[in-house]
Every structure is written in structure tokens, then in C-alpha cells.
């Protein structure tokens, strides 16, 4: 048996002119697998950076002003999109790591924990240099679905009947202590700001985003009690807005 089998194997190899695949193919394959692994770690880290940025600009201190069930509202506004993106990148990175030459030796939990640690460390670094903010702004600019999602998510800050509006300042009327605001839903408001408290270094200037707490008086008139800056730098306005710089006005009277 042995003689026939080994002879027939060699015959087949010779007859079909079978050659070993070149070493470079395997080296290249291994490099590609590692490259894809690191690309996924990078994008996972970028997702972490965006999450850190969004958590940083969220007005955690203001949720209690939203009335019923602030915790429920917090849960609604968590950055699920980026958390999901991070999870996907993490799983893809795991898959490719496991397919490296020795990746199978370490088990799912060890590999995933290592990847999470790596992503968080790198993500914190990317956040520190502002990459999280830039990624968020750019993504919102290029992905209309994401911008729409953010608008929907931020509607919790735009409930005029409950005394909150979120929008962009369109015109400032210094003399009368008021400004015109276009809210997230596209509605226009005249905001009486002369009696309002200004918080967080808010700027009453055209094209600045603000959150206004107060009371709706009449159709499209809002009496402001507290005004906060809206920290998220994503541009919620339609692309056709013309930007015009006007002098800052300090409504606080200082």
C-alpha cells in the first residue's frame, strides 16, 4: 500500500506540475489580515473618541430640568450609533485577529478584552487631540441619515409646550433684548431674552446654537428664563444658511 500511495502522490504532483505556493503569498496574506485588524481597531478607537466627545458635550446637569423621567431621557440620548459602531469594529477585529497565525491560541474573551483595552487607550488619545469632535462633525456632514438621527435624538431639548427650545440664532435685536431663533423642527421663534440668565459662557450671536428654558407665551413667542450654549458642534442647519458675523451682545448686563 505504502509504496503505491506515496508513488501515486508524487506522480500526481509531477503530472499536474503542482508547485508549492510562494512564501510571499503567505507573508502577504498575514500582513493583510493584521492590517485589517489594525484598521478595525483604529475605527473602533475613533468610535470611542466620538462617544467620549458626545458624553462630554451632553448637558448631564440639565437633564433634571426636563421634567418627568430624566433617566429615561438620558437613555434616549446615549450615542447608540457610535456604541454600535464600536461593537461592530470590535467583532470584526476579533475575527481577523483569530485568523492570524497564532490568534487561535488566546480565546474569545482574552482577545476581546485586549481589543477593548487597546481601543479605549487609543480612543482616549484621539479624543484628547480633538479627533472625536472632528469625526462627529464630518460624519454628520457627509451622512444625512446620521444628521436626521441626531435631530430626532435632540428633540428632547425642543419641546416648546414644555418650556424648552433648541435652535440656532438667526437675528439679534439688541435694543429690545430679543433674538430670533430657528428651532430644530424648523419653527421660528421670537425669544424675549432681557430677563434671562446666561449660563456656560453662552454667546448670543447669529448662527450660534442655544438651549432656551422658559415659557411659551403666544404663537412663536418665547419668554426665556435660562439660556445655555448647545455644545454639540454638529451643524443642524440646512446647507443654504448664509453666515453673517455680527458683534457679540452680552445680555447679562455685566
Amino acid at each position: 500500500m505504502e509504496k503505491d500511495l506515496s508513488a501515486s502522490i508524487l506522480e500526481e504532483i509531477r503530472g499536474k506540475k503542482i508547485q508549492p505556493k510562494s512564501r510571499w503569498r503567505f507573508i502577504l496574506r498575514e500582513y493583510v489580515v493584521w492590517l485589517v485588524f489594525f484598521v478595525n481597531i483604529f475605527f473602533g478607537s475613533l468610535s470611542v473618541a466620538v462617544v467620549l466627545y458626545l458624553v462630554g458635550v451632553s448637558d448631564w446637569g440639565l437633564y433634571h430640568m426636563l421634567g418627568n423621567n430624566p433617566l429615561g431621557l438620558v437613555l434616549v440620548t446615549l450615542p447608540y450609533f457610535w456604541l454600535l459602531a464600536f461593537l461592530i469594529f470590535l467583532l470584526v477585529a476579533y475575527y481577523y485577529y483569530e485568523h492570524t497565525k497564532t490568534g487561535y491560541r488566546y480565546g474569545f474573551i482574552k482577545i476581546v478584552l485586549l481589543n477593548i483595552l487597546l481601543s479605549f487607550v487609543l480612543g482616549a488619545g484621539l479624543y484628547a487631540i480633538g479627533a472625536g469632535e472632528q469625526a462627529e462633525i464630518e460624519f454628520a456632514r457627509r451622512a444625512p441619515f446620521y444628521k436626521d438621527m441626531k435631530v430626532r435624538q435632540n428633540q428632547i431639548w425642543n419641546r416648546p409646550e414644555e418650556g424648552i427650545i433648541l435652535g440656532v440664532i438667526k437675528e439679534v435685536d439688541i435694543e429690545n433684548g430679543q433674538f430670533f431663533l430657528k428651532d430644530l423642527s424648523g419653527g421660528s421663534w421670537l425669544v424675549e431674552a432681557s430677563g434671562a440668565k446666561m449660563h456656560g459662557g453662552v454667546t448670543i450671536e447669529r448662527n450660534f446654537d442655544v438651549k432656551v428654558f422658559g415659557e411659551r407665551q403666544e404663537e412663536q413667542i418665547f419668554i426665556a428664563k435660562d439660556i445655555f450654549p448647545f455644545m454639540d458642534k454638529v451643524d443642524f442647519s440646512p446647507r443654504s444658511v448664509i453666515i453673517e458675523i455680527v458683534p457679540k451682545h452680552d445680555f447679562s448686563g455685566s
Binding site: M1, E2, L5, S6, S8, I9, L10, E12, I13, R14, I18, Q19, P20, K21, S22, R23, R25, F26, K101, T102, Y104, R105, Y106, G107, K110
Partner: protein, 196 residues
């Protein structure tokens, strides 16, 4: 005499040395085939339950794939683990092609029985023929993962690292698999009311 010396020369070479030689000279691959064909054929028959002819077909594929991928072998693992891994994968592929569940045909030897029985820490004496017959059936009833890992451990005498490299699973998983396989074997044994 010369021919014998020539053959002896190759038999003294390590697997890694033979691989290097085979990459330079195709004919040297013959020595790798001769070194492993008997072992691998038995292994294929044990884990697959295929006939000898089908097993030889699979073995042929194994050696061809080994030759084609010879440049991918490096010293991060043993050559024997690497070629056993190719064999394991080829058996799985064959099962998929035939859409067959692996059946177990075991030709047990005393060493295997002694290894397994001793590892399970049993100490009663039994009728060896009766034992051989029933343990073969019991192993045949285990699921394929458990059966294969018991065969690798107690028959092929592979250590945990080698099994890890063959099956491409972490060593912890291999240890768990072996533990569960032994437990599963014990449960089947109790059903048969065979006391080792």
C-alpha cells in the same frame, strides 16, 4: 548498503529539515510522505469511519495540500501538528462533500485502553475483550468533537499544546473539551453498566 545509508540519512533528518529539502527538491517530499502516511491513514480512519479506500483518497489530498502549502509552514508549531491539522480539515471537508455524519470505526489497541482507563482513574479489572467491544461502541456514540479529542489525546498521544495547534483552539478550550469528553464517556459507560 548505499541505498540503506541513503534512506537512513533521511530518517535522521528532522521534519523541519525535510521540509526545507522538499522545497528545494520535489523528490525529497517522498520522505515526508513515508514518515507520515501510516499514522495519518490510521488517524483518518479512526475519526472519520470512512473505508480504507476513501481514507486513502483523503490522505492523497492531504499530502497534495501539504506540498502546495509547504512554504506556509514555520517553526511556530510542530510539523506533525501542522500536518495533522491539514488532515483534520480535509476530513471535515470530505464529510461536508459527502454530507455524511462521521461514524466511528475503532480498532482499539491495549495502549489506548490503558491510557484512557488510567486517566479516568478506574481500577477494577475487567474482561479485556468485553471492554474493547463496549468502549468502541461507547466512543462511537460520543459526539465527533469529544471523540476526536479523546483519540488525539489517548491514541495519537498528543499533548494539550499539540491538540490546540491541530484543532486551532486555545489550550483552555482543549482542556475543557477533554474533560467534557471524559465525562461524556463515563456517562455512556454507566449506561452500559460497564465497570472499569
Amino acid at each position: 548498503m548505499e541505498k540503506d545509508s541513503y534512506i537512513d540519512l533521511f530518517s535522521q533528518k528532522t521534519d523541519e529539515e525535510l521540509v526545507k529539502m522538499a522545497l528545494e527538491d520535489q523528490d525529497c517530499f517522498l520522505h515526508i510522505i513515508k514518515r507520515y502516511e501510516r499514522k495519518l491513514l490510521s488517524y483518518i480512519v479512526r475519526i472519520s469511519g470512512f473505508s480504507k479506500e476513501d481514507a486513502e483518497d483523503i490522505l492523497q489530498e492531504v499530502f497534495i495540500k501539504t506540498y502546495i502549502n509547504l512554504n506556509s509552514f514555520d517553526d511556530q508549531l510542530k510539523f506533525s501538528s501542522w500536518i495533522y491539522r491539514i488532515t483534520h480539515n480535509e476530513v471535515i471537508n470530505s464529510h461536508r462533500r459527502k454530507k455524511a455524519r462521521p461514524q466511528c470505526v475503532l480498532d482499539l489497541d491495549n495502549d489506548f485502553l490503558a491510557n484512557l482507563a488510567s486517566d479516568m482513574k478506574t481500577d477494577k479489572e475487567v474482561d479485556e475483550n468485553y471492554l474493547k467491544k463496549n468502549i468502541g461502541e461507547i466512543l462511537g456514540r460520543l459526539n465527533e468533537k469529544h471523540r476526536e479529542v479523546l483519540i488525539l489525546r489517548f491514541w495519537e498521544d498528543k499533548d494539550y499544546k499539540e491538540i490546540s495547534d491541530i484543532l486551532k483552539k486555545p489550550m483552555g478550550t482543549v482542556a475543557t473539551l477533554i474533560s467534557r469528553a471524559k465525562k461524556s464517556f463515563q456517562e455512556e459507560l454507566e449506561k452500559e453498566s460497564v465497570n472499569l
